[in-house]
């Protein structure tokens, strides 16, 4: 029970972090058809910007400034990069973001060094909020949950209750029609791209000190975010939300449940030893497969249901 509740909370925290990253990506992918490889790079930049800014003015201003910087970079990339490549088709667009991701990783290494930077949790939030079954739950995790929940509400309200949100929703499914109705679709694209990267930056600000701020963080986070987006389905924020929470829980629970196929077989009275044929497969424990599970799910969903959980069209 103890393990269950603690993992549930941690899984939620991780899932909400994933959602902050994935919500922006899903909007970009559904509207523009661009699989943005540089999205996780914005997450990394957010963390590094927050680290540098917080050295001078503290964590709280950084919480605003770093995402804004990321959003500006995103807007610049869209206006001066993606829009140029757009006329060559989708594949060059994707490759452009891929190249940007390569460059950002290297620039980060050159600016902040190869080793992790000491980006720490602000001292005001560095205390245990409550104790559950003898395990302390840090206040910072609750803060992360709060920020991401606020973000979720803000996105939802913004998309359903504002004029621009309605245009975005329409552009998700019928971009050509929205353009034909006289809306400036390229400008909407730029805004969504900037907002998406800013969100990823925000995820970096609150995720960077929760996890580790290092040059490899984009590379390790990127594929998982893709999985979430594809799993949730194109054009559906709800699907994206469900997929994020699911991935967060799956990955967290996989780490704590130390079982293997051999344990399952033991229930049926089959004892697996090193000499059993296929022992290497049967003895692999769940924590070790944990990192693999999202990719197995990705491949399965793309083959069986390419539109994802709640998607409106095929990937």
């Amino acid at each position: 029970m103890e393990v269950f509740v603690v993992s549930l909370l941690n899984g939620l925290v991780y899932g909400m972090l994933l959602f902050m990253l994935a919500s922006g990506l899903t909007l970009i992918l559904s509207m523009m058809g661009v699989l943005n490889f540089a999205h996780a790079s914005a997450y990394m930049l957010g963390a590094y910007f927050a680290y540098t800014v917080s050295l001078y003015v503290g964590f709280w201003p950084a919480l605003i400034i770093a995402p804004l910087l990321c959003g500006l970079i995103g807007a610049g990339l869209e206006m001066y990069g993606l829009r140029q490549v757009h006329r060559h088709g989708h594949i060059p667009e994707l490759l452009f973001t891929f190249g940007v991701a390569l460059i950002i990783e290297k620039v980060v290494q050159m600016t902040w060094g190869l080793i992790p930077v000491p980006y720490r949790i602000p001292s005001g939030l560095d205390f245990p909020l409550f104790t559950i079954y003898g395990t302390q739950f840090p206040a910072y995790r609750a803060f992360m949950l709060l920020i991401s929940a606020l973000m979720f509400v803000a996105i939802w309200l913004g998309l359903t209750r504002t004029r621009i949100g309605l245009i975005i929703q329409a552009a998700l499914t019928h971009p050509d029609m929205v353009g034909a109705l006289g809306h400036n679709v390229p400008r909407v694209f730029t805004m969504v791209f900037a907002a998406g990267t800013a969100l990823a930056g925000l995820a970096g600000v609150i995720g960077g000190n929760y996890r580790v701020t290092e040059p490899g963080m984009a590379f390790s986070m990127g594929p998982i975010v893709f999985v979430v987006v594809v799993f949730g389905g194109l054009g559906s924020l709800t699907g994206c939300f469900i997929a994020s929470i699911m991935m967060g829980l799956i990955q967290t629970f996989a780490v704590v449940l130390d079982y293997s196929f051999a344990d399952l077989l033991e229930v049926f009275g089959v004892i697996v030893t090193k000499a059993t044929p296929g022992a290497e497969f049967l003895l692999v424990s769940l924590p070790r497969i944990g990192a693999l599970l999202p990719f197995i799910l990705l491949v399965l969903i793309l083959v069986l249901r390419p539109r994802g959980l709640m998607g409106t069209r095929d990937t």
Binding site: G33, L35, G81, Q84, V85, H88, H90, I91, P92, L94, L95, F96, F98, G99, V100, L102, I103, K106, V107, Q109, M110, T111, W112, G113, L114, P223, F226, V227, V230, E280, F281, V284, R288, I289, A291, L292, F295, I296, L298, V299, L302, V303, P306, D314, T315
Partner: protein, 429 residues
């Protein structure tokens, strides 16, 4: 066909064969009578990377399938080859001539292609790219998990000297292996070239350009993709087999995402449109990796910038840029481009120098200085802590860029005029 006509049609292959055999002698150490080890390794890496990039282009260029996990085919081929070598070494019955060992890699690639391809080719376009990304990550993780076949982090070591050569060659020296590599990579490249002219290769082009219409005509694009994927796996596997012969060790790096990305970079930078594009790209990418990384730790950044510049300004790759000159050359007016090119050269050099200095100063400031390295560019010592080098670098970069813009505009005017003339003559439509 007369021998002369044959020569005219296939001179490219002969030229490649000549360059591949002659290049190592440019670095030959005559005083000690032996080949330069570095040059041979570099050339070998280029050759096997070219085969890998060509096999990648069977998917990207020919069938319009963007793969992010192509290295699994390469890696499995490499592992198959390593295990085959070890089996032959250990067993008394099994006998395969050393010359045919890369085929084991091809078999590995085909096996992997049949399994992974069955899953991946169910979809096309973005979904295909995502599936291959997932498969690549899965395979890399699996390689670290299952020790018996993949050998964990240490990988599988092997020995190419199995003494079963048909020609009685021992394959102890790098030169002997290189010769084998030249033969195999040429065979693989020629086969891939022939494949582009088969009905399958043609239909793959059709599914790339308009898969709906291909369905109307009566072909199943899924089957076409599947066959194309398996064949591409065969050649990627051969490249993997050659890798094993050269390095005699296979680790999980061979099937990891970086290797896939390299294939993609090589194919795209070289140009996916022409058959020889990926070969050119492989030479450039490996050259940057091995050559420039001797001088700077920021080579990946240079590669990334080159890639972005290609995507933005030359989506056809290097081969595409060369191809664009063809109509002007056919008019016999290349001479008129000489002057605009010459005028654009100095600002281009200045811009590059400015940016390279900036990047090198930045790298030195954060990474190099901590390692106690001294920075010197073209023999000019610099201290990244001073203001002066930074000011000069920024000045060069800005001035060079502005000048380059002026010259580029002039160049474009000249170019457009020439293309107009070519249109008037009916050389381009």
């Amino acid at each position: 066909m007369s021998p002369l006509a044959l020569l005219r049609r296939h001179w490219v292959w002969l030229a490649i064969l000549f360059v591949m055999l002659a290049m190592p002698f440019a670095f030959y150490d005559w005083s000690r009578g032996r080949h330069s080890g570095f040059a041979l390794t570099l050339m070998s890496e280029m050759a096997l990377m070219a085969v890998f990039a060509l096999s990648y282009n069977m998917l990207m260029g020919q069938a319009g399938l963007l793969s992010f996990g192509h290295a699994i085919l390469f890696g499995i081929g490499a592992y198959f080859t390593a295990h085959t070598l070890n089996w032959i070494k250990a067993s008394d019955i099994l006998w395969i001539p050393t010359e045919l060992i890369p085929l084991a890699g091809g078999v590995g690639g085909v096996v992997c292609g049949i399994i992974a391809g069955y899953v991946a080719t169910q979809q096309r376009a973005t979904a295909f790219a995502m599936i291959t990304l997932g498969l690549g990550e899965l395979m890399t993780a699996a390689a670290l998990m299952f020790i018996t076949f993949f050998g964990g982090e240490g990988g599988i070591t092997t020995d190419r000297v199995i003494g079963s050569s048909i020609f009685g060659v021992a394959y102890t020296s790098a030169w002997q292996v290189y010769c084998l590599l030249v033969v195999w990579s040429l065979i693989a490249a020629i086969l891939m070239h022939l494949q582009t002219q088969t009905p399958l290769g043609r239909i793959a082009n059709a599914t790339r350009d308009n898969y709906e219409r291909t369905q109307f005509v009566g072909y199943d694009p899924r089957v076409v993709r599947y066959w194309q994927f398996i064949l591409s796996g065969f050649f990627a596997g051969i490249a993997g087999g050659l890798y094993t012969l050269v390095y005699e060790i296979v680790t999980f790096d061979t099937l990891a995402a970086v290797k896939s990305a390299n294939g993609l970079l090589a194919a795209y930078i070289g140009g996916a449109g022409g058959f020889f594009g990926p070969v050119l790209g492989a030479v450039v990418v490996v050259g940057l990796q091995s050559g420039i990384s001797l001088y700077t730790s920021a080579w990946l950044l240079y590669l990334g910038i080159l890639f972005i510049v290609m995507v933005l300004y030359a989506p056809g790759g290097l081969i595409g840029v060369i191809g664009q000159h063809a109509p002007i050359a056919r008019m016999g007016r290349m001479r008129e481009l000489l002057m605009p090119y010459a005028r654009a050269l100095p600002p281009a050099v200045i811009t590059t120098a400015g940016f390279v200095t900036l990047i090198e100063l930045a790298t030195h400031r954060t990474i190099g200085a901590a390692q106690g390295k001294k920075l010197a560019l073209l023999g000019i010592p610099m201290d990244s802590a001073d203001m002066m080098p930074w000011v000069v670098a920024v000045g060069l970069a800005v001035a060079g860029t502005l000048w380059l813009r002026v010259e580029a505009r002039r160049f474009r005017l000249r170019w457009n005029a020439l293309i107009e003339d070519a249109k008037a003559l009916g050389i381009v439509s």
